[in-house]
């Protein structure tokens, strides 16, 4: 197997005597888009800066194409093959054209080719009409497009994106997210994106790493991490809102029957009878109806009562009491059709595969705090 594009080993960054980053190992393959998600202060930006060779780690190594970057000259040469985009567009006080070409100029790309690449990249990002505008007079979205075009014009072998959309308003962000997703796919650019927004991560990335306190708690394929979070923190951060502590009452060929507050849940997973398990259910996997549907493929159909309806952007978040707390998203249309309001009896349905086993433990293990 060939070496990964980027590989870090035993990476540590200290600020003073406080460790702020501790990454025993991380590999990024060519063409992968890895999203780092986690709360503020989790070390996402520090990891990106270290990977971009803009911050010297206290310990550990960074290898590019299997070659460890040891000397300052190697780090400088590496910086000319990758690039980074920050939350703030950090444009130069000149035209959009000069801005997009700035990196190419620094890297000594000849004027003719520079011109071509600037125009092609500007067109990709839909800012060809702004090339002769001053960067000072751009809107937030246009400025971030210019910053991204400046990075893509370099055709970097790895692109580091540090929360590039956080400062944008939702419509601007949505449009740019769409375009960036398309351009990343079209160019096959390897990218590492720091974000605290799981929607952004799932739109752009195919791998996901969840960080907290300078460590990577879990890293893997996007769906794997989203659906099989390894612990309650990761579960909460990838949007798995319902976490339930149950006991396995039956286990037959990977199908588990779980006992919980006088109810039974059917799940898919590996555990032994009598074990305590922590399971998670994503709200988008739960559907609501007014009565049990015998024909449905959803093996879990639980009667419950609506406790809260909270408007949440284009959707409504509905919280239920099914003997335990369960939450789900509904469209305004469903809200009206089912006449959902606190006190309304409903049936919550979800498939056995929607009940994700996060952790198993011995029978006597106390329920973890969630």
């Amino acid at each position: 197997m060939s070496a990964p594009l980027l590989e870090v080993q035993e990476l540590a960054v200290h600020r003073g005597h406080t460790p702020v980053l501790d990454i025993p190992s991380l590999r990024v393959g060519r063409g992968e888009v890895l999203a780092l998600i986690g709360p503020n202060g989790a070390g996402k930006s520090t990891l990106l800066l270290t990977l971009a060779a803009l911050l010297e780690p206290t310990a550990g190594s960074l290898a590019f194409h299997g070659e460890t970057l040891a000397s300052a000259a190697q780090r400088q040469a590496y910086r000319r093959r990758v690039t980074m985009v920050f939350q703030d567009p950090l444009l130069f006080d000149t035209t959009v054209r000069e801005n997009i070409g700035a990196g190419l100029r620094l890297r000594g790309v000849a004027a003719g080719e520079r011109q071509e690449r600037v125009e092609a990249t500007a067109a990709q990002f839909g800012i060809a009409g702004l090339l002769d505008r001053s960067a000072r007079h751009l809107s937030g979205g246009e400025a971030q497009r210019t910053a991204l075009a400046r990075a893509f014009a370099l055709r970097p072998e790895a692109l580091f994106l540090d929360e590039p959309f956080s400062a944008l308003d939702p419509p601007t962000r949505g449009g740019l997210l769409e375009d960036l997703g398309r351009i990343l796919a079209d160019t096959g650019t390897t990218a590492i994106l720091a974000t605290h927004d799981q929607a952004e991560a799932s739109r752009l990335a195919n791998r996901l790493a969840v960080m907290r306190d300078g460590r990577i708690l879990q890293e893997g394929a996007l769906q794997q991490v989203m659906n099989h979070p390894g612990d309650p923190f990761v579960a909460a951060f990838v949007g798995m809102e319902t976490l339930l502590q149950c006991t396995v009452s039956a286990a037959v060929e990977g199908v588990l029957t779980l006992a919980l507050a006088g109810h039974e849940l059917i799940a898919v997973g590996e555990a032994e009878v009598g074990q305590a398990v922590l399971v998670g259910i994503r709200p988008e996997h739960v559907t609501l109806s007014l009565q049990t549907d015998k024909t449905s493929s959803a093996r879990n159909q639980l009667p419950g009562t609506v406790t809260k309806v909270i408007p949440w952007g284009p959707f409504h978040r509905v919280e239920l009491d099914c003997g335990f707390d369960l939450s789900t998203w509904v469209t305004p249309q469903s809200l009206a059709e089912l006449a959902l309001a606190p006190g309304r009896p409903v049936v919550a349905a979800f498939k056995a595969t929607a009940v994700h086993v996060i952790r198993t433990g011995p029978p006597d293990q106390p329920a973890p705090e969630t």
Binding site: T83, F86, D88, H137
Partner: protein, 232 residues
């Protein structure tokens, strides 16, 4: 009032008539303060860049010293430079006391901290991540410095104007290390002081106007540089 009108008339005469002595004094002022400012730009901006881009113990103290240096009284500088250049002083062997070179030296000592202090403030006012952004675009160290200076060019030119303004107008150091020698180290400010003390107010006025015109012209030029080459 007569005094002022006479002064204005005399000034006009001297200006229009291009009095060779006055012309010489004016050119010397421009030359001495111009060279001193140039030296200060090199030293001051170098210092500002070094302090802005590096972390080292005592950085805050250095910045505080630079800022204090912005208010160095010219007479204090004049005294120290005189002692330095005195015949048996540490730099006495140069033999430049009471020459234009001595004034340039003293004025450079005055202007360097001004340009360094304001220049550092200009560089520190740039977004802290800009340096990382420039490096991640592939800049070498000299390219990084150039781009940072270019991004801060407006306040940096203001720093240069402040430095030039500080030395073209100072009199204490020039008179102490230059001696106001006719045809050799007499500059506009020292000549104005002398003429005033002699009661030749018209001449003093004339010299003062020339000083103002000179200061205005140089700053107008720098302002022009500062405000052009800006895209729409």
């Amino acid at each position: 009032m007569d005094l002022i009108w006479d002064g204005l008339r005399k000034a006009l005469e001297l200006l229009v008539g291009l009095d060779p002595e006055v012309l010489g004094i004016t050119l010397l002022s421009l030359k001495v303060s111009g060279v001193a400012t140039l030296i200060s730009v090199l030293l001051g901006l170098g210092l500002a860049v070094a302090v802005a881009l590096n972390e080292f113990p005592g950085k805050r103290l250095v910045i505080a010293l630079m800022n204090t240096g912005m208010g160095l009284p010219p007479v204090v500088v004049g005294l120290f430079v005189t002692v330095l250049l005195w015949r048996n002083g540490p730099l006495g062997f140069l033999g430049i006391l009471y020459t234009p070179a001595a004034i340039i030296l003293a004025q450079a000592v005055i202007a360097t901290p001004i340009i360094a202090g304001l220049g550092l403030a200009a560089l520190q006012h740039l977004p802290p991540e800009l340096r990382l952004q420039i490096l991640s675009l592939g800049a070498t160290r000299p390219q990084l410095v150039w781009l940072l200076l270019r991004e801060a060019r407006l306040p940096l030119l203001a720093a240069v104007m402040a430095g030039f303004g500080g030395v073209i107008s100072e009199v204490g150091a020039s008179i102490m290390v230059g001696g106001n020698l006719k045809g050799s180290t007499r500059v506009l400010t020292t000549a104005t002081v002398m003429e005033t003390s002699r009661g030749n107010f018209e001449v003093a006025f004339a010299l003062s106007f020339l000083l103002l015109i000179l200061a205005f012209s140089v700053n107008a030029l720098l302002t022009h540089l500062q405000q052009t080459r800006r895209p729409r």
